[in-house]
């Protein structure tokens, strides 16, 4: 390595400081300096200068309680930051709350009135013409509108859903007041779909209080399970209705 090259590399040579040269360059530099008094003298003088400046540069007395004052100032700033964040958080929460209150208020004011007249009309229709109402309802359920027997709809009391084993099953209830027996006889027609229950295993049954008859409609995939409290279903049918 020539002296001219060494003099160019000298600024990058920082013994004791961060390495600015590749190891092989440092090795080549040191090898040259070991055999070149002129370059060595320059390096030595520069090193003395740098060492003197560095020592004095760092010789600054730090105030004894500087750290404490800095920590106090930092904690005060941290508190201010937290307070600002809390204020923003409260403002955001307040905005959500106000929005909810306004939204709920609008909902409250816009609630529809109870359709008393409409309900009264529906009730009247059910009372006066129950059969078409029930047929329409059955159709809306996706079920055949006609029952397997000719029930007398003057005895219609209710049509809707009943929960059987956790499943909603359409049911139509007929009731007859029997003055001679001094009791109300009931016939319940459960309309069971094949997609809900295994229709092949539905059995007829009887106990001391009620009887069960089953009518299968394989074409429509439904079965009619009729529960009744009279000796026969004839009581509830049109041909044999009792007025």
């Amino acid at each position: 390595m020539e002296c001219s090259t060494v003099r160019l590399l000298l600024p990058y040579r920082r013994p004791g400081g961060p390495s600015e040269l590749a190891p092989e360059d440092i090795a080549a530099l040191d090898q040259h300096l070991a055999g070149c008094p002129a370059c060595s003298a320059i390096v030595a003088q520069s090193a003395r200068f740098d060492a003197a400046i560095a020592t004095t540069m760092r010789t600054v007395s730090v105030p004894g309680n500087l750290k404490a004052r800095l920590l106090t100032a930092a904690m005060a700033q941290q508190g201010a930051i937290w307070r600002r964040a809390a204020t923003k958080g409260f403002a955001a929460a307040a905005t959500v709350l106000v929005s909810f209150v306004i939204g709920f208020g609008v909902f409250w004011l816009l609630r529809p009135p109870f359709p008393s007249e409409k309900v009264a009309d529906q009730f009247t229709e059910e009372i006066e013409t129950p059969e078409p109402v029930v047929k329409t309802w059955l159709s809306e359920q996706g079920l055949p509108p006609t029952l397997p027997l000719e029930f007398d709809y003057r005895y219609h009391q209710f049509h809707g859903k009943s929960s059987i084993d956790g499943k909603d099953v359409p049911v139509i209830i007929f009731q007859v007041w029997s003055p001679n027996q001094e009791r109300i006889d009931t016939a319940r027609v459960y309309i069971v779909s094949s997609n809900r229950f295994n229709l092949a295993k539905i059995k007829e049954a009887q106990n001391s209080f009620a009887s069960v008859q089953v009518f299968q409609d394989e074409k429509n995939g439904v079965a009619y399970v009729i529960l009744y409290t009279t000796p026969t279903l004839d009581t509830f049918l049109k041909r044999f209705s009792i007025h």
Partner: protein, 171 residues
Amino acid sequence: MASAGPVVSDLIQAHSDSLYRYAYRLTGSSADAEDLTQEAFVKALVRLPQLREPDRAKGWLFRILRNVYLHRIRDEKRHKTVPLESVNELPGTTALEPTIDSATLQEALNELDETFRTPLILFYFEEFSYRDIAEQMDLPIGTVMSRLARAKAYLRTRLASHVDSAEPVAE
């Protein structure tokens, strides 16, 4: 699991002394140095989430402090500084005794423009490489080395006339 980053109290414990010394050499005043250091840590607290490499916290803090300093002096009336174009840039031309008075050094630093003063101060804190200084000042390494060479040459000339055989005096 990633470890939690440093908290500002950790940074104060680890770096407040060197940051203060840097601030002192920048300003030449202990009062200004403390103000500057405090403001730097306050800004660091706000920007702590931006510190992605905790190992480089010192350089990050030095950069914050310098920016705070530059904002302060921007609006202040600049004192007269020595134009370094006229300074002999050849190093090693003037012999220098190994002891330098701290106050004398500060006088010489105060006469330098901040663009020359800063790389000089950072260089002599030794832990900063040319690359670190370049990153802090947003300058190419070559510019940093050029300014450093001029600043060191100025110091040699300036301090040669204030040879003091006594040990460096701490303030």
